[in-house]
């Protein structure tokens, strides 16, 4: 496989695009490093929450304590003595912000999460009861609501801890421009890999035995997977590190529901699990770009049509979905945009580029009369697509040609 890597990066153009991808990644480390200072220190916050938890106070008592403390230091926090040493942080103003965040966290853990889930379960039970009372109940409605009861009537063991400023992490790391650049890089990389031999006239390799051709195909494909997968893992790791250092997202065993954007997530998942699923989704998406471009390269045997086909297949649906997301919030075409988006999100691998939407609420669709999570659906479709493309490409590549 070393030879395949050497072949890929023998071109200056490849190094330039690779450099752009890494430069973009660097920007997403610098931006949070500057912006992260605005958020409270998670160590201080967790220390305060720990103290409150061990104090034996009731949940309401803990919230009242924080509010009372805030009121006590309010005038000092906004006055001339704001930079004086605080009880919990380095400044009185810092203490005020910290207490404010502590109230938000405690409200979320003790009140919002249980109340929201209780409300969802009760709504679903009401829907079931009302549907059953009808002369012709819709079984699909009953099935969907029963699933909602099952998913949301599970106690979420929160723990009195701060999950970090999670929304800031994915605002930075799920940003479209990086993905568009990465798609472009993936397509160019794969097109180069599979058309270089033909364009350079390496006929001896290509016309070798079938086993030789299959081995060549698998090595080239693996090389592409390796490079793309390596960049995605680097992207994920940098996101995890930046999240931990700048935004306090460092406790991956906490339930996903403790991250504010995912408070209504129905899955029994923790933050580490979310990162894992997100990484897997992105890997699958980029692998699907590789396999499609490889198939296009094997069929066309020319770099330019391959690159064009790859860019259209990989980028166009992403652009379309991005526009549909915007339209779904606009006044003029929200309804049709939402319907189209809900269908696309079940089947199109580009859905993985905005994976957080699968975790924000009860995102299930009725497929052949049965409720199925949209994320499971898109995982299955992408997996099948990748396998099919690999099999078809291998068969065509392995076929003897003159």
């Amino acid at each position: 496989m070393r030879f395949e890597f050497k072949k890929l990066f023998a071109s200056v153009f490849m190094w330039i695009i690779f450099g752009i991808v890494l430069a973009y990644l660097g920007i997403y480390i610098v931006i949070p490093a500057n912006g992260g200072k605005a958020y409270p220190n998670s160590q201080h916050l967790n220390a305060l929450l720990n103290t409150l938890n061990e104090s034996g106070m009731t949940p309401d008592g803990q919230i009242e304590f924080c509010r009372a403390k805030q009121e006590e230091i309010q005038s000092a926090a906004f006055g001339e003595n704001r930079a004086d040493k605080g009880e919990y942080t380095n400044t009185v103003f810092g203490d005020y912000i910290l207490l404010d965040c502590a109230v938000d966290v405690l409200e979320q853990i003790y009140n919002e999460i249980p109340e929201n889930r209780t409300a969802i379960v009760k709504d679903a039970l009401r829907n079931i009861a009302e549907e059953n009372a009808k002369s012709e109940p819709d079984l699909g409605v009953i099935r969907m609501n029963s699933l909602a009861v099952k998913k949301y009537n599970r106690i979420v063991e929160c723990g009195v801890k701060y999950a970090g400023h999670f929304s800031a992490v994915y605002d930075v790391y799920d940003d479209a421009p990086w993905d568009f650049v990465m798609i472009f890089f993936t397509v160019i990389l794969t097109a180069r890999m599979f058309t270089l031999d033909i364009s350079r006239g390496s006929f001896k390799m290509i016309f070798s035995s079938k086993n030789g051709r299959i081995k060549l195909f698998s090595k080239q494909l693996s090389a592409c997977f390796f490079v793309v997968g390596g960049i995605i893992l680097l992207h994920t790791l940098s996101g995890i590190m930046v999240g931990a250092i700048c935004y306090g997202v460092n406790n991956f065993s906490l339930p996903i529901q403790m991250a504010a954007p995912f408070s209504a997530c129905p899955f029994a998942l923790n933050l580490g699990g979310y990162y894992a699923v997100r990484t897997l989704g992105k890997l699958l998406f980029y692998f699907s770009c590789v396999t499609f471009t490889a198939l296009a390269a094997i069929l066309s045997k020319r770099a330019l049509p391959t690159a064009a086909a790859g860019v259209i297949f990989c980028l166009a649906p992403a652009v379309l979905m991005s526009r549909l997301y915007t339209a779904s919030n606009s006044e003029y075409s929200a309804i049709t945009a939402r319907k189209a988006l809900n269908v696309l999100r079940c089947f199109v691998p580009q859905s993985f580029l905005n994976i957080k939407t699968f975790f924000e609420d009860f995102d299930y669709a009725e497929i052949f009369g049965f409720p199925m999570s949209r994320i499971i659906c898109v995982f299955c479709v992408t997996g099948i697509l990748i396998l099919a493309e690999i099999v078809i490409s291998a068969r065509i590549f392995g076929r003897e040609t003159r």
Binding site: P114, N116, R117, T118, I120, V121, K122, D123, A124, L125, N127, I128, A129, E130, E131, A133, K134, S135, V141, N145, L147, A148, V149, K151, Y152, N153, R154, I155, E157, F252, S253, P255, I256, S263, A264, P266, A268, L269, N270, G272, G273, A276, V277, T279, L280, S328, S330, E331, Y332, S333, A334, I335, T336, R338, N342, T357, E360, D361, F362, Y364
Partner: protein, 395 residues
């Protein structure tokens, strides 16, 4: 190759081990399912089967278009309040229900599919559901799904001048005799509900923005926003006739045209015939939020600083002041007081199809010294000045 397969499998297993965070047993949960279901089923036995439908209505809301009542529709025993979230309030019991039946929905403002946060401006309630306009589309929400019934592609030069981004956009809807009258900035067309067909668009006012509209099927009555003029447009003749100046609100009811006209800064309520002839002043100091029912008129003073609300007979006689009760409850030994804000401008809503009239106003809830703003909804039996506080919502 074999080693890399083993390593990648182990890596996937390690990563995915963090996925399952399930800790609770089958029996525990936030809600005791069997207890809740049996309680609710008992409640359901006392309810009409149709109550589970979001729109169990027999008639159409025939309200006039007025700025103060755009996002409300009273029909049957319900009041529909459209506006983040969209709610249905039972006028008898005060039960507040979110207008979203999506399974498992958390009803958040950024949810993709939540009907509770779907903008449904300028609409009216009907047996089929809720008709509203969105951009250049006429839409229907039937309680479960939203459907686009019609897309408008007609516009005039005035529309283009007023709204460069979307000149074909549609605004308010008025119902009359089986037809929906859908108004753009300068034109209108009708939608036949039974046939599902639309008429050709007709231009009726291409010089000013409309702020209040009603129709009786033969005429369209409208007030303009910039020049504050009141016109009657004859549909057959396609001609407008000016009725008066300084008018900002109107309502057509039972063969009579009611409209507010300002005199020296004081709004007066006039009543005229269906062609705008023979106007007669019936109420002095009547704000634009007046509401005419079959039996009476509900209105509020504007010039008088106290801004009191009144109910009077259909000819303006025998005004009775409306007293808004405050609600005091005690929870865990703490008094909770809900009170209407003084001098607040009210929204007064009713229609021929509604069982009651409603007044919506801002108020406050005081719990142990902590004051929270809220919206209060009072219900009146038609023809009565006595009201009951039926619901309080956070807006």
């Amino acid at each position: 190759m074999k080693k890399s397969r083993i390593i990648s499998t182990v890596l996937c297993a390690v990563l995915l081990c963090g996925c399952n965070n399930e800790q609770n047993s089958v029996d525990s949960g936030y809600v005791d399912v069997s207890e809740f279901v049996s309680e609710y089923e008992n409640e359901l036995e006392n309810k009409d089967e149709t109550d589970s439908n979001m729109f169990p209505l027999a008639e159409y809301d025939d309200k006039a278009v007025a700025v103060m009542s755009l996002n409300y529709s009273a029909n049957g025993k319900y009041l529909y309040c459209m506006g983040a979230p969209n709610l249905r309030i039972d006028g008898d019991s005060g039960e507040v229900r979110i207008l979203c039946s999506k399974a498992g929905c958390a009803h958040k403002s950024d949810s993709l599919d939540c009907s509770a946060y779907q903008r449904m401006p300028g609409g009216l309630s009907a047996p089929e559901g809720y008709y509203y306009t969105l951009g250049n589309q006429l839409c229907l929400f039937d309680g479960e799904a939203h459907k686009v019934l019609f897309e408008n592609n007609f516009c005039t030069d005035f529309d283009k001048e007023m709204n460069e981004d979307n000149p074909c956009s549609l605004g308010e809807i008025v119902y009359c005799d089986g037809l929906l009258y859908i108004f753009g900035l300068s034109h209108y067309f009708t939608y036949d509900i039974s046939k599902g067909t639309t008429s050709e668009p007709a231009v009726f006012c291409d010089r000013d923005i409309i702020m209040s509209i009603d129709t009786n099927g033969e005429n369209i009555y409208y007030c303009t926003q910039l020049s504050n003029e009141l016109y009657v447009y004859n549909i057959a003749a396609k001609e407008s006739k000016k009725i008066c100046d300084n008018s900002t609100a109107l309502d057509y009811k039972n063969g009579a045209l009611y409209y507010v006209q300002y005199e020296n800064g004081v709004p007066m309520l006039y009543m005229a015939d269906e062609n705008g002839n023979s106007p007669k002043k019936i109420i002095e100091d009547c704000y634009v939020n007046f509401c005419v029912t079959d039996d009476c008129i509900y209105y509020q003073n504007y010039a008088d600083p106290a801004r009191e609300a009144f109910m009077c007979k259909i000819d303006g006689s025998d005004p009775q002041k409306i007293e808004f009760p405050q609600k005091v409850t005690t929870e865990n030994g703490v008094d909770i007081v809900s009170k209407k804000a003084d001098k607040d401008l009210l929204k007064i809503i009713s229609s021929s199809a509604a069982d009651k009239a409603y007044i919506i106003c801002s108020g406050s809830k005081t719990t142990g010294g902590v004051v929270t703003p809220e919206e209060m909804i009072f219900a009146f039996d038609k023809g009565s000045a006595e009201c009951k506080l039926i619901a309080e919502t956070e807006r």
